[in-house]
């Protein structure tokens, strides 16, 4: 019979093809799991950034006169647990579990000394005319300091830290942000 001479795909060919396919699929499956781990890691970073923004906004919305007394000694305090509990100024700090990861949120408040410079106009000058800039005389530069010396502190530095641990490999991570709260009251 002529059909007997027909040669198709042999078992050896199929075996070899299967072997090549398996060898190619192994790194691809690793790649997929690597991608999955990457996505999980990104999700943890995004959540940490979300917590950072939240706590910074909450902390910076508190007026200076309420934040400043939290510094009992020195010029610095580290806050690791909830502050202003049960009030509308509450800021939840400490451990928070989200999507299988535990985030530790803390904040620091620091009184910052500042000095402001300016050149005052000599209002005592007899030629001074408020409507004409050409008549204005400026005195020498003055510097006023707000460092608990002659004037009290007016500026607080607010810092928020979000810490968590990356599981693969175990690695501590931290993100942080800094802002300022000031005392507008005289």
């Amino acid at each position: 019979m002529h059909l007997r001479t027909r040669r198709g795909v042999t078992l050896t060919e199929i075996m070899m093809a299967f072997l090549i396919m398996v060898m190619a699929l192994l790194p691809i499956s690793n790649l997929i799991s690597f991608g999955h781990r990457g996505t999980q890691k990104d999700l943890r970073i995004v959540l940490a950034q979300e917590l950072l923004v939240d706590r910074m906004n909450q902390l910076n919305a508190i007026p200076f006169k309420q934040l400043n007394p939290l510094i009992i000694t020195g010029t610095h305090v580290r806050l690791t647990s909830r502050i202003f509990s049960g009030t509308n100024l509450e800021v939840p700090l400490g451990d928070i579990a989200r999507h299988g990861a535990t985030y530790t949120i803390s904040a620091t408040l620091t009184r910052v000394p500042a000095s402001f410079t300016y050149r005052p106009v000599d209002f005592g000058d007899l030629d001074y005319d408020q409507a004409s800039a050409t008549s204005w005389r400026f005195k020498a530069e003055k510097e006023e300091r707000f460092d608990a010396g002659t004037n009290p502190y007016k500026i607080l530095r607010t810092q928020v830290y979000v810490n968590w641990t990356e599981p693969h490999p175990q690695k501590p991570r931290q993100i942080e942000a800094v802002s300022y709260v000031v005392d507008y009251e005289d």
Binding site: R6, A24, G38, T110, P120, V121, T134, S179, V182
Partner: protein, 191 residues
């Protein structure tokens, strides 16, 4: 000759050689399975490499977002400090700004004594002061802050009564840099 005729001939007479069927051509398809698998594997490789490329783009994106968040909060804080300074010395800012405009117009002004600094530069503050690139601005934070500066501008005024003031903060954090502007309307009341 049609197929029907050739079939009839085959049935009735001697069997002619079946050249038209070209059965031996099938034998030329040897190794097709390997070729198919190689094409399949190659396409998987292309998909995989584009997947890795996408993944590597996500990581720097996250860093840029963090830089932006840090810059925004720092700019908010610096705006508050700038407003505090204006609130403390509104009349000094008003005189310094108007005087500077007259100076740029080329008006004949009173001689400054001492000559430096220009009143508006003095109001903005010297380098390494709290509003101008102070190296202690971020404290112990590890923010990649490169530089910052603060500038005031008056956009409208009614002397000793009402001012429209703009505060510009120029910030560069990591690969992110931006000019933040805050406009505020100030009404002065006699105490």
């Amino acid at each position: 000759m049609s197929h029907a005729n050739s079939f009839r001939v085959a049935k009735g007479g001697a069997c002619p050689p079946l050249k038209k069927y070209k059965i031996n051509d099938i034998g030329k398809r040897r190794g097709m399975a390997i070729v198919i698998v190689l094409v399949f594997v190659m396409s998987l490789m292309v998909l995989g490499s584009s997947y890795i490329k996408n993944l590597s783009n996500v990581q720097p994106g996250n860093t840029r977002i963090l830089d932006q968040i840090q810059a925004e909060f720092l700019a908010q804080g610096l705006h508050r400090i700038a407003i505090l300074k204006f609130k403390k010395y509104p009349s000094d800012f008003y005189h310094a700004f108007i005087w500077n405009i007259e100076k740029r117009k080329g008006s004949r002004l009173q001689t400054l004594s001492p000559v430096a600094p220009d009143p508006i530069d003095s109001f903005h503050g010297p380098m390494n002061s709290i509003l101008q690139n102070w190296n202690g601005i971020i404290g112990s934070c590890s923010i990649p802050l490169l530089s910052y500066s603060t500038t005031y501008r008056m956009i409208s005024h009614k002397p000793y009564s009402r001012d429209g003031v703009e505060v510009y903060i120029n910030l560069a954090v990591g690969k992110f840099s931006k000019e933040y502007k805050a406009t505020f309307d100030v009404t002065r009341t006699r105490m």
